[in-house]
Amino acid sequence: MCEENKELTEMREKLKVLLVDHLSLEDIKPEDIKDDEILFGEGLGLDSLDAVEIVVLLQRNFGLEVKDMNKGREIFYSIDTLAKYVVDNIKDNAD
């Protein structure tokens, strides 16, 4: 349980760094992004084109593909949901 929490925490931090790095988020540092902050629209203010960067970032860094539109809405909701998706699916792929 503790190990899982640690994995999620590390993934959240890693994703924050990747988002700031790849999305050219001006004046935002990884530590400024809250775990439960809404990523698109209100909140961090990402737009539909930032979704392209996130999808490619997930493909290139974790070998994960997001194809399902409805899933996309849930996965891209916040750093929390994104990290959970990556951790769960990396495990699934490894199994």
Binding site: S24, L49, V52, V55, K67
Partner: protein, 298 residues
């Protein structure tokens, strides 16, 4: 999260039926003759279309009188009507349309050599829909990113989705503006067609177009740079009666130099596209059917 894009409905069942009957009875030229009256109606009563068209004519034909400017708009309306009638006729199997195709070998090479697909950037110039039939030869699925046509009469009679099973629609009005679906299709090696000249409510960048700064949507360019796939600019022009030119010669390869300010890095590629459009309207001034003030920032 999906955005509903507001667009004024034009054309109704009765009006379109009249055009179809005239086409069947008197041929294309018979149907064209109706346009001279219908376009007067639009010139007098469709303020949105006239305002959008004036934004173009005032830049293309500078310093003209009120009458002359509106005469140009009238000509544009007639030509767009002709394009729509041609579209209906071509999709309905009327014979005799000829296409002078330029640069198609490059498209075939790109599509067949790359595992990834490509983006076909279309514009509100000429009659891009008639060119879709030329793409059937690629033996790839073609996806059009567009707002679903909500005018049932237009959808039915202009055969918006009628290029057979090879042409499919990706709706702009879904989560993330359809971008997840676009990525999937390009990764599958398919061709996705995206309009490059109307921004709606999507992110855009200012580029020089017809002597002023115009806001053009950066979607196609950002997707191409991120997925590392080419952009092919599709241009069509009516050269004469039932005679069209389809030009695939303009290929753009957007690429990020580094991770800093990525969107601004796309500007030079978007400027290339704007220059292509600029050259087009110089050659075919009455085939620009943008009808939107892309120079207005609000």
């Amino acid at each position: 999260m999906p955005k509903k894009i507001k667009v004024k409905k034009r054309g109704n069942e009765l009006g379109l039926q009249i055009f179809i009957i005239f086409t069947k009875l008197f041929g294309l030229k018979g149907a064209y003759s109706l346009l001279y009256l219908v376009s007067i109606h639009y010139l007098l009563f469709d303020k949105v279309a006239v305002k959008g068209a004036l934004a173009y004519t005032e830049r293309r034909f500078k310093n003209e009188t009120f009458f002359k400017k509106h005469w140009r708009v009238y000509q544009l309306f007639i030509n767009q009507g002709k394009a729509l009638i041609d579209r209906y006729a071509a999709a309905s199997g009327y014979k005799g349309f000829t296409f002078q195709i330029k640069g198609f070998d490059s498209v075939k090479e790109i599509v067949n050599q790359n595992k990834k697909g490509c983006i076909l950037v279309t514009s509100h110039v000429g009659n891009w829909q008639v060119a879709l039939s030329c793409l059937q030869e690629l033996k790839k699925d073609i996806y059009l990113l567009m707002r679903p046509e909500d005018n049932a009469a237009v959808k039915k009679h202009l055969k918006i989705y009628s290029e057979g099973e090879k042409v499919k629609i990706i709706s702009l009005e879904q989560d993330f503006g359809g971008t997840l679906e676009i990525i999937e299709k390009i990764n599958n090696g398919d061709v996705v067609s995206i309009m490059g000249d109307r921004k709606y409510n999507f992110p855009y960048l200012d580029v020089d177009f017809m002597g002023d700064k115009a806001g053009l949507p950066l979607g196609a360019f950002l997707i191409a740079a991120t997925l590392e796939c080419p952009i092919i600019v599709l241009l069509t022009a009516k050269l004469g009666h039932k005679k069209y030119c389809v030009d695939f010669n303009n290929i753009i390869l957007p690429k990020y130099e580094n991770k800093l300010n990525k969107k601004q890095q796309l500007k030079k590629y978007m400027q290339k596209y704007a220059n292509v459009l600029n050259n087009y309207v110089e050659s075919y001034p009455y085939q620009c059917f943008l009808f939107e003030d892309v120079w207005n920032k609000h």
